[in-house]
Subunit: 326 residues, 6 copies
């Protein structure tokens, strides 16, 4: 990786290209007043932007739900996105993948519009940094699986705060992560919804495998992850049954296998729940099957790439929440 | 008012004094990732900072609950706050009051710490602007009272997202405001909690008056406003019974009077609920009594000041949410 | 009692005085379409209309909440009420008490207004019949107390259907009564609210006595009975503590005494809950104390009067719901 | 239409045929005491009574659930129904359709049985009036679609008040309609259930279309409309997937199309939710496809008929709830 | 039956074989402190232990969930189970079937470990007695069906107390049974969950039949009975649709047939709900079909066997809860 | 302490005095079938049985609620209790305190009554052992305070399983304890109720102190501890305000002091919540004040006694749940 400093990367911020350390939002912006911002984070495989249209579709769906005016058409935004990526192209050699980010906020609160000296309009930020920063230290997760614990923090029901809108008003995820600090650096949070069903991780969707079939919570009180949907389509192609269903923690105890999905990590095995082994306590064959198929689809050895990053230095840890404990 | 542009005001941001248009937060800050920021907004009476210690106490309570490390001691912060106010003193002649703001976020996410080129630490912003910007157009509210409507959006219960912590993860307030847009510019949102009790406005506490006694919702699924507590203390001094109680919308329909409280507005009468008059549909004697007593305490004619602002030009509207409809 | 047939009594119906068998409502009236009607039922003591103003106040409060236009002023209605009573005066000798009734519905649905041949307006019915019809067979209840059973039917929470508005949309009371039929003619329904607290009977409020203090459920998911409030005022005069409180069924099991209140019955002891004796299983001293005081206030021996009715023939049974089982 | 006055139409009421202005219920009837009445409203296509057996089945199911004794066998009732229709046949020329209505209540309350001068028995009313009165002004709804808003009023859960029983204890529907008055005459109420899922309109079922598939809420906290089931059967014949599913408001925002169903209107497009366009904001191809198929089935141009009614005079408005605002 | 006294049967208790009257647990055992014990009860057909592996699987699943250490491997337990059966073989002639029982508790509480004079370890009990004792008096149930009533006691949600773990902390089942005592000896309890859906009986699963299809509640707030699953597999083999679904009490009222399942009883028809006939109020053809098929599978006339027990003397009643009323 | 082995102590079991290792319950007892047993555990001060009448009162209240027949009158039981204590008197020198225990179960299930060879009757066990066994290792708790963590396990609401009845169906307490094992041996479980309010520890009541006033959760979803009530009476005597109130976890974070109460421990300070210091993180003056007053009342230095036990050997640990992790 040529470049380890954020300031060298270029971001599009509200009409201009600037160093990413200048990618900032006014404290008078609705984003900082209410968590009133939608966003998407993507990744590449061999520099191909993976499922970009799906991410943009969800971004515009979120703006519609929150009634944030569209800063530009979807086509124009895609063009601007590509332009931003090109400006950063030199920082990514063929071994590096990109981790792009789009933020859209409603902009400066109306109350400040006259004094702010600019028209009232939504605020768009596009940036990118190396995927390595996010996943570089996570190789052990693929080898051993991660350990999840049911947090006392519950997921907020969709009629109170819609998790299907990828928004920034989600202090409760942070609080669940902070709970895990008390258990230890190995612990990942699992949220139940207020009905007592398994909902999601704090940034990932969960699946379990029982008797050769895959199950995942109904897309109700969870972010409907784009990776979640992709894994469902992989299963369909592989003729593996994959069903959305109300799941109890009991079902996870009795599962043969479990895994979480997210854009940067793709698929990570879960091998323990509340300190007890799931199945034989080791990553299982379904994860391997799905990852192998995925590797073929995108022409990248997903886990191999993580291993390479881990061997060539990185800046993060296997559990991104561990440093919260300072 | 000497100065109508934000850029002329000075803010303390992360160690430096800068023009307020530079009061910005990195998109990699936890504040913008999770709504993970606590804040306080104050006001002055005759340039005296009103209940500043109470605001600081709540700010530190929020940091403790969210486990945000304290950026400095409470004493040091107060000193810095005063320093910031002094730097802006010239912009406030004797007729103008200040509207100061303190933000504390957890800072850059750990995942970006190595690349961001700075140590991992909480982020502090202190700023101030004229109170006139917030309340200058609200004179009609005091004359006629405001009209509240029960939103379909409910307050989020305290065990899911603690409203007593004044934090920035509150998209649901914004959604309730957006609902009101459909009713009209005169409509203010009233949130019920998930038990069906009256909770709060989106930034104010609510009180009702019945047979000479004052009632307000229990301090449970609401922000425990500092003005709310102050009004309770005024009532106590005036020997008026003021009780925290579970209240239904029915109680509001049957009330003799109702009002909301907040730091910038102090006390604003509520004269309609869901389109129906409360009492005789006019501001009532209890509001007058409380405001008169408050005026005496702080040596300012609160409503008179708002009238003056409205007659001398301002930048906001009587309902700060009306411009949301652009 | 001079007169045992309904047809002899006169009712005011929508502008005219008619025999009570003609006191009818169109099937196109909102009352019959939605249960969209408010009502009050009163009683007299020595022909004095007891707490009439309080009943009228609640009637008008209900109209306000349901946005039913007022058919006339409160004063005019009182006049019309008295006029209706006078027209029936001959049927009530000095031993008989009256059981008057006021109904107000929104009137014919707008959809039928053009074809119905009359202006769109609320519909008012005032009628009266002998109290004896309601309470004449209930003397055993005062002697032995009644037996209540927790129904599987729960009270509907106030934010879904406001029980404090005395309205006709209350099929759930009927369903609770129908449940009791399966236990036997001695069984009276006790409703819990959805929080699991004791709410009310199907037409009565409940109180319990423990260590000399009286407790009754908070006025939340219940009709705030006018007799309930009157009993609270009696207690206050007698310097007996009477507190509104969240009560569990457990509290009723552990009570020393319990009783229900309603307009026609005044106070009836409850001596069993779910088949188990409350206290010593007999009517207790608190009921006697309250009734004695009440007797003095109104100059009527309340229980003696019921005894007299029972000895002189009546048309109802001790449990008005038993005949449901036909 | 020959006849615009209700009094000319004949109703069967409790054993007699009378002018419909005499179709009335005693104030001592359980229907007016508790909303304790079941009913069905039908319509014809070319004078054929559509799905009459299904309506009668649901009517008898409701009586069973509420334990209202059957006033006669289903066969006898059908005979009486037909007789009533024949008595009104002259009022319906070939362009007019009928809107029949059956009401069954439990009858006079037992407490009044001795004095009422008649045996205790359920009360049956059968009537009919022109469909034009209901739908004559609704042509714009088919052209432009209707606009729905999520009401703050929630649907009452089935375990508290069973919506699958078509009964008259439904003040909460009226309250939701009254909420819409505050938004404007264009607004139709959409009820969520207490789990936050989409339930129903106040008298209609809702469907959405996404990627060529149809979805409707599970038949749980809703009236299981006969038109709802018919539309599901149309979809099945047309080989279009139609699934019952828990749906969030988010799903409606993201739908390609939406529509409501009810007996008189058949299918009406929904083109806006909370003020935001669904799909392209216009009635979509699925509604057309279903209506075309339905037209063929019944030999009536459903929308054409509504258009004809609108052009030849009518008594109702496009939103039957608008006149509520008087 | 050779032997009518419990003391003659042999039980394995904590390492020893003893008379069953000695099958006891210390009051200091976690089982008696917290209801902290998992168990299984089996039955034989022609002395073949039916679905034993499935029962053992569920037993070990419960231990895992409750984190009770396994006292031995599943294979060892099976061996010990068989050994226990053999020791009792003489008491079972060819007409008698066995009713075996396995209990595993966590053992003596740690606090007592030093004083108790034995190592801290889980406690295992295996016993067996004649099936006749459980089902010998239940022949009328098969002939006439049983009558179920919705209890006011609700099922405890799975996230509060997991019903899928067959454990001994279930006072609430007992409380539901005690409610039924008040209705009469014919009444069996039906539990709703807190969402208002049908959950289960107090020791049985419930199914309903509508239009030739079978439905049973989702396996969520219920014990997932081994007989429940077996009946689902019988239906599958018979090509009868059998679906898990959220069911309301309304669905039971409208069902053509209903039945409950449990290990000792297999399948018992339910012919009344809340006092109202289901279908024609008689056991229906689906129960016959399933039982016939089951008979063939196991080579036993299930109902015939119960009839035989009833004719040759027994010790229980048709409703095992009736004696609760002593 | 003369005697460290359980077998030397004498218990009353079902009519006989036996060594305590024989204090056992049949597996066919309702206690082991349903957790269907009520109990009380007492303690002495200077060999005086503390609040024995209050414990007996609660025991009989529980029997009444669960409809367990009383095995004898309260007076007879007290006599038997004293007799049992006398039989064990020799084992308690003047430095030792007693920890007596009473268990009452419903007895053998009716289904087994004929075969069990004994009449169907409730089962009574009375035993006693040294208090030292329970509290001997807890001296550090008084010195440093304990650390509580909010468990993901919630308290079961009173309408589902009444916590005010001290019964044995409480696997959920055990599950909360097992959660704490994952955090560490220092962690004590704090249960919230399903409304999100603080309920209780798993065997203790919780109090907090703020501005010199004491608060404790309403006696609703908690065991109403006898020590809880005693502490409230101490506060009253000391003229310290002590209020029952709905409390959020936030309130605990902001408290000046907190403590738990239980019969054996009396009062133990809580100095951390979720890893964060309460107040200054040290036992506070209110605990000292209350304990000092208590010491005077009973003539025992409560903490000094614990210190003595810890210095003279004991069998338990400071957290009785730590050994769960074996």
């Amino acid at each position: 990786m040529k470049n380890g400093k954020l300031q060298n990367y270029i971001a599009y911020v509200d009409g201009k290209f600037v160093p990413q350390t200048e990618a900032k939002i006014s404290i008078y912006d609705s984003a900082l007043m209410f968590g009133d911002m939608v966003f998407e984070m993507m990744r590449t495989f061999n520099h191909e932007h993976f499922l970009l249209d799906e991410h943009l579709e969800r971004l515009y769906a979120g703006m519609k739900f929150l009634k944030i005016p569209e800063p530009m058409s979807r086509l124009e935004m895609k063009k601007l996105y590509n332009e931003t990526m090109e400006k950063n192209a030199d920082f990514f050699d063929e071994k590096e993948e990109m981790r792009p980010l789009i933020n859209v906020s409603r902009g400066i609160l109306p109350i400040y519009q006259d004094v702010y000296g600019q028209a009232l309009k939504p605020n768009l930020v596009i940036s990118v940094f190396p995927l390595r920063w996010t996943i570089g230290a996570t190789y052990p997760n693929y080898l051993n699986g991660i350990s999840m614990y049911v947090a006392s923090q519950r997921a907020i029901p969709a009629d109170l705060l819609e998790p299907k809108v990828k928004n920034r008003s989600r202090m409760h995820y942070q609080l669940a992560n902070l709970e895990m600090r008390e258990i230890g650096p190995h612990a990942w949070a699992l949220l139940l919804d207020t009905d007592g069903f398994i909902a999601e991780g704090t940034g990932s969707n969960i699946f379990l495998v029982k008797n050769g079939k895959i199950y995942t919570p109904e897309g109700r009180n969870v972010l409907r992850g784009i990776t979640r949907r992709y894994v469902m389509s992989l299963a369909e192609e592989l003729k593996i049954s994959c069903e959305e269903k109300n799941l109890n923690v009991y079902d996870l105890y009795q599962a043969d296998e479990a895994f979480v999905t997210s854009t940067p990590y793709c698929i990570v095995p879960v091998t323990k729940i509340n300190g007890v082994a799931i199945g034989n306590g080791k990553p299982g064959p379904m994860v391997t099957k799905l990852l192998d198929f995925w590797n073929k689809k995108v022409g990248v050895d997903i886990v191999g790439q993580v291993k390479y990053y881990s061997e060539t230095g990185t800046q993060s840890s296997s559990n991104p929440f561990v440093e919260l404990k300072r």
